[in-house]
Point group: C2
Chain length 358, copies 2
Amino acid sequence: MGGAGNEEKAVVESREWYLAAHAPEGVPTSDHLKLRTVPLSLCTDLIPDRHLVVQNLLISVDPYHRAQMTGLEDGLYLPQFKLNEVITAITVGRVIRSKDNNYKEGDIVLNLFSPVAEHCVVPSELHIQKVDPTSGVPLPDYLSSIGIPGFAAWVGIEVLGDPKPGSNVFISAAAGAVGMYAGQLAKLRGCRVIGSTGSDEKVKLIKEEFGYDDAFNYNKETDLDAALSKYFPDGIDVYFDNVGGKMLEVALNHVNKHARIPVCGMISQYKEIWTEREGVRNLLNIVGKEVRMEGFMLLSYFNRFGDFTKEMQSYIKEGKISSKLKIYHGIESYLESLGSVFTSSNAGKVVIEVNLHV
Amino acid sequence: MGGAGNEEKAVVESREWYLAAHAPEGVPTSDHLKLRTVPLSLCTDLIPDRHLVVQNLLISVDPYHRAQMTGLEDGLYLPQFKLNEVITAITVGRVIRSKDNNYKEGDIVLNLFSPVAEHCVVPSELHIQKVDPTSGVPLPDYLSSIGIPGFAAWVGIEVLGDPKPGSNVFISAAAGAVGMYAGQLAKLRGCRVIGSTGSDEKVKLIKEEFGYDDAFNYNKETDLDAALSKYFPDGIDVYFDNVGGKMLEVALNHVNKHARIPVCGMISQYKEIWTEREGVRNLLNIVGKEVRMEGFMLLSYFNRFGDFTKEMQSYIKEGKISSKLKIYHGIESYLESLGSVFTSSNAGKVVIEVNLHV
């Protein structure tokens, strides 16, 4: 095995999550996701060219992970995780070995498709970008405000929704990782912004932390239609849809002429195979109200990522954007943290801080 | 009464259709729509300024009429016909009395909101435009190829769908008034065009008269999903939706990335109140495939009507557009002709030729 034995630490025991069984319905359990420990050689000679060994520091936990575990073509068409293979997520990590001259040990990198592992060997030219640790931006923001959730909110509001000052904007899952930024970006455009969310604590959070004009707890509203009549006496101009299903259906009864519905996700619909999902029965409103409904995936908008970063960083510097993070500790918390994303108590962006034991 | 008695014919007996009862479900019957005869004075002194007396020659029979008879907010938000009042439609008529210097007796006019009557008094400045009878365009074309159905097809294909040469285009209700032109316009753009329709005769019509690459009878396909797999091995780039419901749901399982779905109407969905309509369960595809689905009403696009007319007239002159008309005779045929629009045997544009008895 070459001269690897000479290095201080030749092998690290790395824990990683792998898919043990598909979870076509419901939230994955320990039957579907299992943690295992694998030895990983740190011997530079054994690392392929243009590869890095990365120690993950932060792991992003996102609802779309769920859709990668069903084994079904579910409508998001994300790559499915393979049975017995390590699952992937967006991470921030530290380079601890490099076989690429563009990277050196100690570099901090963002990886869009990192193994959910404490350590991993990854190709340096794929889905990796360097993070400047001297920029003053806290590392978790790379997974949140200036990361994927912030970018999703920006594309939905700035590119597709494009509300005018005074427009009536409705955000579902408004305390979620994307929703919290979507509402704040709409407020920065001078809109009237109402959010729906799943608990009274989150209603408070949305109004006090994120500056929404108002918000309601959909679990407490026995008549969602009446709720939207109350909160939108002048109708909805932009509905940023994060949930699909019944909320989309109800919202379609309150849209104004030429309303726009950017659809970022449909978190209420990930759990079931499509023929068992809630049907939306009033799509005829799309004709009469001339609605533009448009789904989006961020990969199609990465040519705008620079514009987004510039705008968002300036908002952050001016103190105009708040973030709510829920930090879990240790890679062993992945299963619990993923489950939490699908509960109505979840608020803000869920991130795992990996315990450092190397 | 002034000197009216001096005129050759002072009063005409005009038959007109009025709404006797709302028809919230199903196709209207003689319980809902009734014909009555009303006397109409032709005495010029009794006609208000800036009004015309028009003798209707052609009446356009369109599926959206149905939505104006329900007494419900149905999703199209068209003005509802009022009980006991004459209903309205698009007509081509001849001016027989004029109290507006811009019009003289004998002028031919298109009226977007004409009473469904043999004769009527209408304001000259509202929804009226003159037709040039020397243009060589047959009068029924003003209700079809260069009228509303042709314009709807043009907006859906040219403005919203915008398919490229070689794109795979799917048209539902493909032998209908709008569908027949949508398919032909897509063919003129060099697309591969497949239509669905409700009878074998119409499949033949679509292929032989309208030049579709292929077509199928949805009543004969026991598995619509399999049918679309067969006709769209490379997926659907543009789906021109005229029907909504199940066909929309199935099409959403076959759309390609960045597909566009201009929605002109949802003829399968007009018959029921919205909570009883077919739900579309797979809207999550809109996210994963980044679909833009957009409803449209023509009033929003009238600034493009000139562009449309120019393009369509040149196609017609070059013999590149075929029309299929179903002509009913006499105003008494309105009820039967409206019912026919909702049968699967209906093909092409339905027009009533009013019997001339003045």
